[in-house]
Symmetry: C2
Subunit: 331 residues, 2 copies
């Protein structure tokens, strides 16, 4: 049986499309993200996100509907006029979706095309903090809820209202990054989380948790453009917005320690990511996200106020006059 001309044309067209996409990807130099701290990595033949040199992040659409849900969220969000401009900066820009060769070699796959939010940072210290005291949502299946609940109870999600899902701390040219493995991250206790939030803004982070100096806290957590102010701006929106409920969504906190060390102006940033489990708010605030966010804010505030106190103490110590004796002699 011969192939009809129509079918043959279609086949050739498809081949051409595939070839051109694959070809363009090749020249676009898609690669594994250098600074991905959580989620599936595109290594060892596994499926994961890719980045290019133009500052775009390609996230494969997960096959079980989650990918399409995330794409639908970005589409809805980008056109929603109820979202204020000052809040949009906390979300990555989305450039739609694109067919690309998947990193696991399984062929062409739809990818979300997003802004590569850390691409402008050379040596970013990054924390991926999954917000909320539950990662499941009422509409989910019982199985899914039980699975999430178990993990939420095993990690700090239930106790703290958030959990660290991944991180990298830049420790300097010689030591490079501290990147705890997935198992280590999943076993973080409340104590560990508190230590990491201190270590994240310390100049001596490589020395060990106990001695963290928190010397960058005033410039990274504090100040009018610092992490705390940004978290508070986000909080004010979450106290009011009833459009979306952000389940199992992460807050990425990142900054360039080297720039800060050198005294150059580096603005620390926060960005919300991972929207595969966002559902409609239906007129109710996202109290689950808000509660967790407030808990994180409290932790960050404490590190900041501790660092201020210790810096005042240091100043007082250094300015303290010598001990004066009764006869007026000072030592």
């Amino acid at each position: 049986m011969g192939i009809s001309i129509t079918k043959e044309t279609k086949r050739l067209k498809t081949m051409l499309l595939h070839w051109s996409i694959a070809h363009s990807s090749f020249y676009n130099m898609l690669k594994v993200p250098e600074h991905q701290v959580a989620g599936h990595l595109a290594v060892d033949g596994k499926l994961g996100p890719l980045v290019d040199d133009s500052g775009r992040f390609y996230k494969p659409l997960q096959g079980d509907g989650r990918g399409n849900k995330e794409l639908a969220f970005y589409e809805s969000f980008s056109s929603d006029t109820r979202v204020p401009d000052h809040i949009r900066k906390y979300f990555p820009v989305c450039y739609g979706s694109q067919l690309l060769e998947a990193s696991n070699g399984s062929g062409l796959l739809h990818h979300l095309v997003l802004q590569d939010i850390v691409s402008s940072h050379r040596n970013p210290s990054i924390m991926d903090v999954k917000i909320g005291s539950r990662t499941w949502y009422p509409e989910a299946s019982d199985n899914y809820i039980q699975k999430c609940l178990e993990k939420d109870r095993r990690t700090t999600t239930v106790s703290l209202g958030f959990r660290i899902a991944g991180l990298q701390l830049y420790e300097g040219k010689e030591s490079g990054y501290w990147r705890p493995g997935r198992k280590e991250v999943q076993s973080f206790t409340v104590y560990n989380v508190r230590s990491i939030l201190r270590r994240f803004v310390s100049s001596n982070s490589s020395i060990g948790n106990e001695n963290s100096d928190c010397s960058f806290a005033p410039s990274i957590y504090g100040g009018s453009a610092g992490i705390l102010e940004q978290l508070l701006e986000l909080k004010a929106w979450f106290e009011d917005q009833t459009i979306y409920h952000f389940h199992s969504c992460s807050l990425l906190i990142f900054f360039d320690k080297e720039s800060v060390s050198k005294g150059s102006a580096s603005v620390p940033e926060i960005k919300l990511i991972d929207f595969a489990h966002v559902v409609e708010g239906k007129g109710v605030i996202d109290h689950n996200f808000l509660g967790g966010l407030c808990s994180l804010i409290k932790f960050v505030s404490e590190v900041l106020s501790d660092s201020k106190e210790s810096s005042i103490k240091d100043r007082v110590e250094s300015e303290k006059p010598g001990i004066c004796t009764d006869n007026g002699n000072c030592q």
Copy 2:
């Protein structure tokens, strides 16, 4: 075998103690609380709280340890200097515990002696709102967690971050109170909760949900001493306090509609009650309570702003000049 004198004396002393307590209770006119809207009622031979005429509320100590936990909470709370004075007013005063004849006739039982918080109100409208998107806590048993989780999912606890656990609305001298039964209360949907929060501050609450006029919203929810301001004061504390986690605790919201109708100054009140599941905060804020509280605040704010809008609309309507025709004639 004869009974020893010591044993006989002890037996007589115990009898005397029992008799005197029972006797004093009798003359103290212990009775079933008139305005209890949730929890076990001391009727039909069941165990429940009692009140007297001096403004005290006697709550039987539950036998499974919960009663002792609640007593321990009150003892710890009352002596905790970290709790600011302006927050103490949101908690009932506790006068310790006392042995009393239980309402189910089972004999003497320890009772918590608390301030009867609604005793000064003649016809209080009351809402018992259980705050938090989960009523269980990490330290509880798996069985307890599953039981709570099921109920939390069945009610508005998970979706709203709070559920109405009971209520009575005073509708006037003729109609008396609207007191939905336990089953009806447990089946309240998000829609019902929104309606009830409107109906709670309406002069025409008996007509039906759809037509609630919310005419008392400005004086009950609004104003510098209104419910909203009180909730915001409580919220500010919960954003900061890391002493206690209030699981399965209720916020009682109440006021005297008759006084408000007559224009007399009646201050609406909120009080936290039910502390059998309070656990130590261990340096973490109660993000579960806080999230639910913020959700309730949003609902109350909406009723208030709707009522303001409709009152402005009414004023504009009444002040609007007639329709003018081209020749300047106004109708």
